[in-house]
Symmetry: C2
Subunit: 116 residues, 2 copies
DNA sequence: GTAATATATGAACAGTTATTCATATATTGA
DNA sequence: TCAATATATGAATAACTGTTCATATATTAC
């Protein structure tokens, strides 16, 4: 296969793309973060946490599913820097890690013309 | 299991979370979009397309892998509204669907302290 | 210490997905 | 029409992932 040989403009874009490709490690981290928020159940958790921190059983109540499933999902979200948690007595309170998370959610919804 | 019964503040967040949960259909669409950009190979395609539209073989050159694999991935990106394409002679030129896509990428990188 | 509540986790199974290979379609030029 | 180039796609397999079930850990109240 021979790479196409048209417009100079496209060739320049291709060369810049090759030069400026982020490090494999960074690509993997970004991919893992998006994967963390790409399952409906985990996304519901984020929508739930928009309004503030919540304990696990409140999250279960808001998104459905079993306590075990939600706990597994929270672990994935936390491991990828999407949510954070703190203990308060018997409860662990979860919240969105920072303002970037909500901003990404809102951008995605705007892109898809969802009103959330 | 009994839902925890602490701070009024948390209870209100839980109730608002339940009331304002987006429709299942919208959650699925957002999740599918994030899933589309959650694989390293597809993410590399997006990083490549930051600099402008490119034909398939240029994309293959920038991200690696086989032509077939890249073509499959492009189909997924396009089906989920992440990239768009137009024909120009023998070539199909791909580009990011709109400015939201780049904005989401940049937010994610900022969140993870990647310099892209 | 014991019971109760809240949360986390390991293993196993089922469903999903990415890649490869072979092949098909579409465009261009002769 | 034929050959060459560019892109797409169906099927199969291998790898990954989410859920469930059972159980473990941690905190509090008694």
């Amino acid at each position: 296969m021979t790479v196409c040989n048209h417009e100079e403009e496209h060739l320049q874009a291709a060369e810049r793309a090759k030069r400026s490709m982020p490090k494999e490690e960074d690509v993997m981290r970004v991919a893992a973060s998006f994967k963390a928020i790409s399952e409906p159940c985990r996304l519901k958790i984020l929508f739930a946490l928009r309004h503030g921190e919540m304990c696990v059983l409140h999250i279960v109540g808001a998104v459905g599913g079993t306590q075990s499933a939600v706990s597994h999902q929270l672990r994935i979200l936390k491991a990828n820097g999407v949510v954070k948690s703190r203990r308060e007595g018997q409860n662990i309170l979860y919240s969105l890690d920072d303002e970037h998370v909500l901003a990404v959610l809102e951008l995605a919804c705007a892109h898809l013309h969802c009103h959330i």
